[in-house]
Subunit: 501 residues, 2 copies
């Protein structure tokens, strides 16, 4: 034990030294960049805007930035996006070929970013070091049952722990039932399996756009189910009180339109907290959406994967599972996973809670393709069970770091007069960079995105989320402050002084 | 460390005590059963048959057993198999309903067996206690990269280790390339992804029958690809030298027949070593099958999941990867996984090796649905890397135990004059129990299977493997000897003295 403690101490010291070297190096880079930047931009330290929705009036400085940008965008050479045509493989089936050649923008960005990342040692999330839990000795435990074929819905000990966990953190009025929990290897797998079991391949699912774009592949690749978008706009209309607001009226209109197109809509997907908007629905909103769905006999898949990442105590997250009496419990299915909030996407653990026994039974059949290793299930039990650590250490510290990084980023956006949605949930800010586009087109948006990516900054562009108006970007702020500063300065220098590229 | 060692010692002692109690209990049960059995059967200790293929002449004792059996079968009440009609769920899609209601015989047997198992503490495989490797302290290691989205083909460190491992154990003439390795969560997932990428939903795959029946679901559930069987018969015909022999002629005939039926055959699946036959193909046979496939531009998926379980040194396993110059390397894809040989089906790790870059790229796209946790990938690296332990401890001891259990079982089968295939690979013996069927029909075969299952003995019947002649059963022998004895005596008593049921 002492040996282990000493080794741990050495590792910590080493990490500290490495972090310091990294900071020093970045500080030198930053100083260099700041000097270049300030010499070209003059003294632009604007006072921060204080409006909550922050759609600021254009300032003079911005003219310089936006008129310089198109040149910068033009310097970007043709990239992967344009190279994917007509490479039909004679060895693969039609769908094999389409799977192979398919690449969403989010995926392309992620791949390119990671293929040539600024710093391979970086820790891209704000969460506490994950090793503090997963490397505990009590995580190394193997029972014979863990190594045999499991119940494909998950080992009962994990189903029980998940039910307890969701009961507590979703504030369920009565304890949730373990047998309604299905565990799979990630929420992508859960979406795929839900699409396959609730829809036939000619059916479609309603989803308000913008939305986390990977869901298109999740329901489409294996299950060949299509999404029908409910477009939300940046400019509030009618009774809207905020940009990109979802209302029952918009749902009704889209459903009518889909029916006119001959589509058979079987379900509605809601993201709450919303990715990329950061919106958190009130209980009244939630109930109205669920009642809309009930009226049209639509299933509702509610993805609550960011439920623990509401970082401002004034905002309250309302889980569907907290509602007292669901309008249509047999058609309401709630998803959660550990990828986001515990910063462990590589652990591959997603789950769905549904009172519909038929659905649970059908998912069980597909579980064979989406199984989670027994020892991993055990580790997740230990993690979810450790309420002392969760409540007194992990969650408060995680929220604190989210708040801190978010504050930093919104202050920077205000200084730059970049409009954005001021929300308090998730890892991202939805910001309007359209003023940097030469023309308000999706082609220009893609050029800007490529420019950032070329310089190792990954900001996902709106079209990756099927946003209807060009120029919106999702800015992930869950990184260390000095990294955010570096990223920002790189971004700034490239949208403002292309001559230095 | 000392504390840990003491705890380990305590655990071992406790396990030993429990095992002893278990043995004593089973001994009492056995004595009881043996008394009953000997009083009803008289003295039937026959001398063992010595023929290798063992198709023995019927003995008198057998008449008693077979004439009594049908009564026993009749006493079995209707079971799950008959209860699955017309429970169409209004909540699910057509395919969701068919997925939900679908249950292969192997799955039904497994579920029923485990729902009411003779002894929950049993360790159903012969392999060394798995914990001896997976519970080593060096298995508990987390790097930040393990917790982030991985390369969906597998972490490069695992791809490298798998390539080295397969190069060595498959006796590849040159080192295999890590970039040709795709790792997924189990071989079921690999089959599903291969079917989706090589075939469109109207295509079909050739597979010699009998075969491991779950492959039907593997390629069918998500990917809606059908299997076209190449029927093999128990009676050798033409130039056959053994029962159920696969020949190029049979492949050619089935392919012609499939074309006549309008089927578009895209691939051939080979199981080597074969499940359930235990056959191991010679290099000449393998090459002839691969050349047949090349001539017809068929992909060949070779499942070598039992490659390390050839337990008789006189038999040599010949991996496709050992061949010097594959006839059609772009259409030859080899599968392996840890579920069987390391007795860890619950770890969910399967893989495919293919030189076809297009295929690897397409599989990468589906990898998102079949991801393996980073820490599990690391554990598998450690396991595969430990050649000293593998070569000097695990593999010899595993082969020894397989040999011992196999010898016991074939001696028992000989005593009972039950014909069987005498092979030296895999965990099972393919045996002909048709003499216990009232009529040689699949309905009677199913009755016999239900009778065994009702009494907590799981022998999988031939129709679960799409065998063309009724009465064949797959007997898994990889259990402790005293368990096998108990299972045998239960089986015997129920096929011989139904009055005691």
């Amino acid at each position: 034990m002492q040996q282990e403690a000493r080794a741990e101490e050495r590792r910590e010291q080493q990490e500290e030294r490495r972090a310091k070297q990294e900071r020093d190096h970045e500080f030198r880079l930053m100083s260099m960049l700041t000097r270049v930047l300030s010499s070209s931009r003059g003294t632009e330290d604007q006072s921060a805007s204080t409006s909550r929705e922050t759609f600021p009036v254009p300032s003079t400085s911005q003219t310089l930035l936006s008129c310089l940008l198109p040149n910068s965008a033009k310097t970007v050479p043709s990239m992967l996006w344009g190279d994917q045509t007509a490479q039909y493989s004679p060895y693969l089936s039609r769908r094999g070929n389409s799977m192979r050649l398919h690449q969403g923008i989010l995926q392309e960005g992620y791949n390119q970013y990671h293929a040539n990342k600024h710093d391979e040692n970086s820790n891209p999330h704000v969460s506490l070091p994950r090793s503090c839990t997963l490397m505990r000795p009590d995580m190394l435990h193997i029972e014979p049952a863990f190594l045999q074929y499991p119940d494909w819905k998950g080992h009962s000990v994990l189903q029980e722990e998940v039910a307890k966990f969701l009961s507590d953190y979703c504030r369920s009025p009565k304890p949730l039932k373990p047998e309604n929990v299905v565990v799979m290897n990630g929420c992508g797998a859960v979406f795929s399996a839900l699409a396959a079991t609730l829809c036939d391949s000619e059916d479609a699912i309603l989803i308000p756009s913008p939305f986390y774009g990977v869901i298109t592949e999740d329901v489409g690749l294996y299950s060949t189910v299509k999404l029908h978008h409910v477009p939300l706009y940046s400019q509030p209309t009618g009774s809207d009180v905020r940009p990109f607001q979802l209302t029952v009226e918009k749902l009704e209109n889209s459903l009518k339109e889909a029916k006119k197109e001959g589509l058979n809509i079987k379900a509605l997907i809601l993201l709450n907290p919303h990715n990329p908007l950061g919106d958190v629905y009130s209980s009244e909103e939630l109930i109205s959406f669920l009642q809309f769905a009930k009226m049209h006999k639509l299933h509702v898949i509610v993805d609550e994967i960011y439920m623990l990442s509401v970082f401002n105590e004034t905002d309250t997250f309302c889980s569907v599972l907290s509602l007292d009496g669901l309008p249509d419990p047999q058609r309401t299915h709630v998803m959660w996973g550990v990828s986001k909030e515990f910063a462990m996407a590589g652990i591959r653990l997603g789950m769905v809670y549904s009172e519909n026994g038929d659905l649970v039974q059908a998912l069980d059949q597909l579980g064979y393709f989406h199984g989670v290793p027994g020892p991993t299930q055990y580790q997740m039990v230990q993690l979810l069970r450790d309420r002392d650590w969760l409540n007194s250490e992990f969650l408060p510290e995680n929220r604190h770091r989210l708040r801190e990084a978010h504050s930093f980023m919104i202050e920077e956006l205000k200084k730059l007069d970049i409009p954005f949605l001021h929300r308090s949930a998730g890892f991202f800010i939805w910001a309007d960079l359209s003023k940097y586009l030469k023309e308000k087109t999706f082609a220009e948006e893609l050029s800007l995105w490529r420019c950032f990516l070329k310089h190792k900054v990954l900001l996902s562009c709106g079209q990756a989320f099927s946003c209807v108006s060009p120029g919106w970007f999702r800015i992930i702020f869950t990184d260390r402050l000095h990294k955010l500063q570096l990223g920002l300065s790189i971004t700034l220098i490239h949208i403002s002084v292309p001559v230095f590229l």
